[in-house]
């Protein structure tokens, strides 16, 4: 009776034995690398309906973050500004610009501009901007140098591990309370010790327990 399988098939188990650990390791690496928010989220840069440039407004012209994101000190959301905020200036400048067509339309019709969310946390994580700004965490610590971005993108993974790194040791990310929106402030340049800052009424004590962020 002729053999059904050729002789070389005898090597298959050995090959599997050798390859399986490699494939397994590859899978682990693939998930560890490609499924991590560091890969999936960092660098996320969706195209926005209006080509708004933070570099121009916040960087070159030096408008403070809070001019537009004015709820950041009072609320969980650093709200995207209403169209009316844009029109404060753009009723005077660039009134005919084609790039601002959607802004003018929105202002006239009352329909919102559908901005695409860039920094998106899961719904079960309750981040609060006011708490972080109040503690003296700089905008740039999480959002990167927005003043240098023409199109805003994610610079940090915003993963739970990344959050906890800072919650466990917040000091390197703290700055004087009046420097929160200053994009140029660097901890290296200014040796800052929050425990000796007389402007701070309390020392930060970030939560590490579940209900600090999940509820």
């Amino acid at each position: 009776m002729p053999a059904i399988f050729p002789r070389w098939t005898n090597n298959i188990p050995i090959a599997i034995g050798l390859l399986a650990p490699l494939v397994g390791a590859g899978l682990i690496f693939a998930v560890w690398y490609w499924f991590s928010p560091k890969y999936t989220d960092v660098g996320y840069r969706p195209e926005q309906p209006v080509p708004y440039s933070h570099k121009l407004h916040a960087g070159d012209m030096g408008i403070d973050c809070r001019y537009c994101h004015n709820t950041v000190e009072r609320a969980a959301h650093a709200a995207i500004p209403p169209t009316a905020t844009c029109m404060n200036c753009h009723e005077q400048v660039k009134t005919e610009s084609l790039r601002l067509r959607k802004v003018r339309e929105s202002y006239q019709t009352g329909e919102p501009i559908p901005w695409i969310r860039v920094h998106q946390l899961p719904d079960y994580a309750y981040f609060d901007h006011s708490a972080h700004v109040g503690a003296g965490v700089g905008c740039a610590s999480c959002h990167g140098r927005v003043d240098k971005m023409v199109v805003v993108e994610m610079r940090q993974p915003l993963s739970m591990g990344w959050c906890l790194d800072c919650h466990r040791n917040p000091t390197p990310n703290l700055r004087p309370l009046d420097q929160v929106t200053n994009m140029d402030w660097t901890p290296e340049a200014e040796a800052y010790d929050p425990s000796r800052d007389p402007d701070r009424k309390r020392q930060v004590n970030p939560p590490l327990h579940c209900s600090g962020c999940h509820r």
Binding site: A75, W115, I116, P122, Y124
Partner: protein, 1018 residues
């Protein structure tokens, strides 16, 4: 172990629980309801299961290969122009007022980005004093009810959709047609008109259509009490109670802590007189006579169960007894008592009456006789006479004149009227909520009926026009509480279905032109007040939720009881045979709230029945009829019959059968189904007033109906099994005042173990937080009204699960109210106990979680991380308090029980709007439980931290249950601060921890119930 025999009170949750014996099969007793571990019946075959599995695997593959691992893109839609004061994500609170059956609750409505999501009590309103009722809490769900009619419909059963202009024109034309006839032939059916604006509109109507008839159909209005007040004080006289200073209260068939008019204020005031710290503190005493056990009955110090028909006799005997004690009758009531019939009572009742009379007289000027709405007019009138004799007028009983309320005819007259051609029903449902014997449903079907209402209910279906109207959260309006306080209702959201409000429609009928509600309400005040009105006062009224600054002349009616003997002679009937009692459901009222799934699933305060009503009978009566729980009875009253299941209710008077109204409806996806329609039997009495009880008969009908009561689910206590005697565990602890005085540390004695013998098996978590959260619940003031349960449900996005799932013990309430009976099986005393997560410091749930989904916060909270939970349910198994709830199915996706969101995407979107964005909406397969409203704690902490404070000031954090509690029984705060309110309460000698012997150190502790019996009756 201690010998705590003297505290072995023998509490039981149901008669089954009481009679339970050793179960061979379960090797002891059954902790869970039979069927709790069965899977829901589905038609999912093996083939479909693999199909679905393949499809989901393929889908997963598809998403992986297309690289869409990132979350789907989300849009941010900022306002084009953001309204002033609006901060996205920060709720705003607006004052308004909720009204049901003459009970006005001033409320603050929480608006999340423009969506009203939660009702809170308004502390500035004298009627609610910061609390809210179960109905007020639930009404926010009604706003988003997918069953609300969305378009005007014309044409009865086979109605067609009409547009709004055509509808308005049609109504206009219809009314115009009657103008020439002076309104003859036109009838309006209103609820009790307590809106000053609507009263004003009715005056306008009188001028435009002088012969139009206006009827009132409102089973929740206190019609008997109003009639009695007018009998005694003349037309326009109103009487109400104030209990804040009382020492003795006699509730004659009055559930003033549950369903009576103004129950929120009365509960708040009465609770004030029951809050005791030291054994020497004054404490009021409550006497109750009633046919079925109510919330008020559970709080009684002395309670007699008796037929409703016998309550009048008790009142007569009380008057005689007071006369015998030489009470000073008021001038116009002198000699009246002698003309009243003498009654003979049995021995215990006579003793009760004599003791009560002495007590009332001893505490005169600080007592109150509260007569329930279910009693006929003459009993109410007699109550006012006794109150007057006890010099309670101006204290426990108050009077005022209401000159504005129009005189309306009772709806029973409409059934007899022959001159009516067209009927406009304003928010009323006379085809359902009137005695069926009147035959109004048929009559209305034959007339030109126009129905204005939220739902296409019984009347809406037979009406020629059914016109949806705005919810109170969508409309301008105003309401006047019985004590005269007026509140402005302001809209929280534009009408979801483009509707006009009731006030706007009434304006069209009354004046011929439709004005917007804002103008109608505001300029109505401007017109009536003239110079005293300006924009600033108006804005203050709207802001505060209370109309202030209008001088009221305190005109007191002149009281005269000359007509009382005649009223007694006419109204008094001997109480014989079997008595069928009707009462308003503490869950759905008269049925108007029947489409609220929150209320339907809410366990009844006493019977703990969900999703149904039943005929409550005593064990003796049930034995006589040969029925048990769920066996159908045929009730007959006045020749009409109704089949309804029996439910054995401890505390029910023998030979009485109590049936709650408001069930057995046939419309809506929630109201259709639960319960049985007692309006079929409800008798209509003298002068068009409802007769709330009547002689009838009952017989076993054969057949059963599944009744689901949660009374036996999740019990903390194993029953005392024969042959397995062990001491009572300290769950509810109570003592009389005398016992408390003798033994101030009685709660300590109830524990089974000496504190020295308690040890931990492992180190409890370190509690390093700067503040430590805890709660205190006062069992002495908690009346078990359920308001906290609905407040919790609306704050924490708790889903309803439906009757079948409740039957498996899968209801999701984070906070439940346990009710325990004690003593005689027919006539027990009762205690209620709110039970939520106790936030144990050494929590048994945390140690068994394999994935650390439930862990301890440094501030003493027992945290639950839903996204870590894998659904082993070990924690629930190990929880001694049985307060953990598991999402067996994706209940939150159900718009309405049994109806999946994909069946009704519009409805799903509507239902979503109610959700609180600060709390995660949980999905299938996760465990959940009370968090002490951690979202409120975090919010307060963040605000304090931003302001530079380390600690949150005491009283800043108010949990949802605490906020709404009419009795003020729940207090939350920092237990590490000895000055905080909660620490002060916990320092009392009544303070105890449930099941302290387990050494869990729960953060919720209770203040033991103190009863205040009359030594003469013990």
């Amino acid at each position: 172990m201690r010998d705590s025999k003297e505290f072995r009170h023998g509490y039981w949750r149901s008669l089954e629980h009481r009679a339970m014996s050793y179960d061979q099969e379960a090797d002891g007793w059954r902790e869970f309801a039979p069927g709790a571990d069965t899977r829901p019946a589905t038609s999912l075959s093996r083939r479909r299961f693999f199909g679905a599995m393949g499809a989901s695997a393929a889908l997963a593959g598809a998403t992986a290969t297309t690289g869409c691992i990132r979350k789907p893109a989300e849009e941010i839609l900022p306002f084009a122009e953001r309204p002033e004061d609006m901060i996205p994500g920060k709720p705003l609170f607006y004052a308004s007022a909720f009204e049901e059956g003459g009970t006005v609750a001033g409320v603050l409505v929480e608006s999340q980005d423009g969506r009203p999501t939660k009702i809170e009590g308004n502390p500035r309103h004298p009627g609610s004093q910061g609390a809210a009722s179960v109905f007020a809490q639930a009404s926010v769900l009604e706003l988003y009810d997918p069953d609300r009619t969305r378009f005007p419909l014309q044409g009865g059963e086979q109605a067609e959709v009409r547009d709004w202009t055509a509808t308005k024109d049609a109504v206009s034309t219809l009314v115009e047609g009657f103008v020439a006839k002076q309104g003859k032939g036109l009838a309006l059916v209103m609820r009790q008109v307590i809106s000053p604006t609507q009263r004003y509109q009715l005056q306008q109507l009188r001028r435009r259509l002088p012969q139009a008839r206006v009827f009132v159909d409102d089973p929740m209005m206190p019609a008997n009490a109003l009639a009695a007040a007018e009998l005694v004080g003349g037309e326009g006289a109103r009487s109400f109670h104030a209990l804040g200073e009382t020492q003795t209260v006699f509730a004659a068939d009055a559930d003033f802590l549950g369903t009576e008019t103004d129950h929120i204020r009365l509960t708040r005031e009465w609770a004030k007189t029951r809050r005791v710290q030291r054994t020497t503190d004054e404490m009021s005493r409550l006497y109750v006579v009633e046919p079925h056990l109510t919330s008020t009955g559970t709080m009684a110090d002395h309670r007699l169960r008796m037929k409703s028909g016998a309550v009048g006799d008790v009142m007569l005997a009380l008057a005689r007894a007071l006369d015998g004690l030489g009470v000073g009758w008021p001038k116009s009531g002198e000699g009246v008592v002698a003309q009243l019939p003498a009654v003979s009572l049995d021995e215990p009742t006579q003793a009760f009456v004599s003791a009560l009379a002495k007590d009332l007289l001893a505490t005169k000027r600080r007592s109150a006789v509260v007569v329930g709405e279910r009693q006929p007019v003459w009993v109410h009138a007699l109550g006012t006479l006794i109150n007057a004799a006890l010099e309670n007028n101006g204290n426990g009983q108050r009077w005022l004149f209401d000159r504005e309320s129009p005189k309306l005819e009772p709806v029973a007259e409409l059934a007899r009227a022959t001159d009516v051609e067209a009927v406009l029903c304003f928010g009323t449902n006379p085809a359902y909520d009137t005695p069926a014997a009147l035959g109004l449903a048929d009559k209305l079907a034959g007339l030109t009926t126009v129905h204005f209402g939220l739902y296409r209910d019984q009347t809406g279906r037979i009406a020629k026009w059914h016109i949806p109207v705005s919810h109170w959260l969508e409309a301008w309006g105003d309401v006047q509480a019985i004590d005269g306080t007026v509140s402005i209702q302001q809209p929280l959201i534009a009408p979801l279905h483009d509707t006009w409000s009731m006030t706007e429609w009434l304006g069209l009928v009354a004046s011929g032109s439709m004005l917007d509600g804002y103008s109608v309400v505001k300029y109505g005040y401007a017109e009536r007040l003239g110079g005293g009105f300006n924009d600033k006062t108006w804005r203050r009224w709207v802001h505060d939720g209370v109309v202030s600054g209008i001088p009221r002349e305190p005109v007191l009616p002149v009281l005269d009881w000359k007509g009382l003997p005649e009223a007694v002679a006419k109204g008094r009937r001997p109480a014989g045979g079997v008595e069928v009692d009707f009462h308003l459901s503490p869950k759905v009222g008269d049925g108007r709230l029947g489409n609220s799934s929150w209320l339907q699933e809410l366990p009844h305060p006493i019977s703990k029945l969900t999703w149904d009503n039943a005929a409550y009978v005593s064990a003796a009566t049930a034995a006589g009829l040969g029925v048990g729980n769920g066996d159908l009875l045929t009730l007959t009253v006045g020749g009409r019959t109704l089949q309804i299941p029996a439910f054995i209710a401890p505390g029910q008077a023998d030979d009485t059968i109590s049936v709650p109204l408001g069930y057995g409806q046939d419309w809506g996806s929630v109201a259709n189904g639960p319960g049985f329609n007692a309006y079929e039997l409800l008798p209509s009495g003298e002068g068009g007033l409802l007769e709330w009880f009547g002689e009838g008969s009952a017989a076993k009908a054969g057949g059963t109906h599944l009744l689901v009561s949660t009374q036996d689910y999740g019990t903390l206590k194993p029953p005392v099994l024969r042959g397995m005697e062990y001491p009572e565990r300290p769950i509810v602890i109570e003592a009389t005042r005398q016992e408390w005085a003798k033994e101030p540390d009685f709660v300590e004695k109830a524990n089974l173990m000496e504190p020295e013998r308690l040890h931990h098996l492992w180190d409890p978590p370190k509690l390093t937080g700067k503040q430590q959260w805890g709660m205190s619940i006062d069992l002495n003031t908690c009346v078990g009204c359920n308001a906290c349960m609905i407040a919790c449900q609306s704050e924490n996005n708790i889903p309803v699960v439906g009757k079948a799932q409740v039957n498996n013990g899968r209801e999701m309430h984070w906070l439940r109210i346990d009710r325990y009976f004690r003593g005689d099986e027919n006539n027990p005393t009762a205690v209620v106990q709110p039970m939520g997560c106790q936030h144990c410091e050494a929590a048994p749930c945390e140690t068994v979680c394999p994935v650390a989904a439930t862990t301890h916060s440094p501030e003493g909270l027992n945290d639950m991380a839903y996204n870590r939970c894998i659904g082993t349910r070990y924690c629930s198994n190990n929880c001694p308090y049985k307060v953990r709830r598991f999402n067996f199915l994706a209940y939150n996706l159900d718009v309405r029980p049994g109806k999946f969101w994909t069946d009704d995407p519009d409805g799903a979107r509507l239902a979503q709007l109610q959700k609180n964005p600060d709390v995660t909406v949980r999905f299938r397969g996760v465990m959940e439980k009370c968090t002490y409203c951690v979202q409120r704690i975090n919010q307060a902490k963040i605000e304090a931290h931003v302001a530079g404070h380390d600690k949150v000031a005491d009283g800043t954090i108010v949990t949802a249950c605490e906020q709404t509690c009419p009795a003020g029984a729940i207090v939350f705060g920092d237990v590490s601060d000895p000055e905080s309110a909660v620490s002060q309460l916990k320092a009392q000698n009544r303070n105890y921890q449930v099941l302290r012997d387990l050494n869990n150190s729960p953060r919720t502790s209770y203040l033991a119930r103190i009863r205040n019996p009359n030594p003469e009756l013990v």
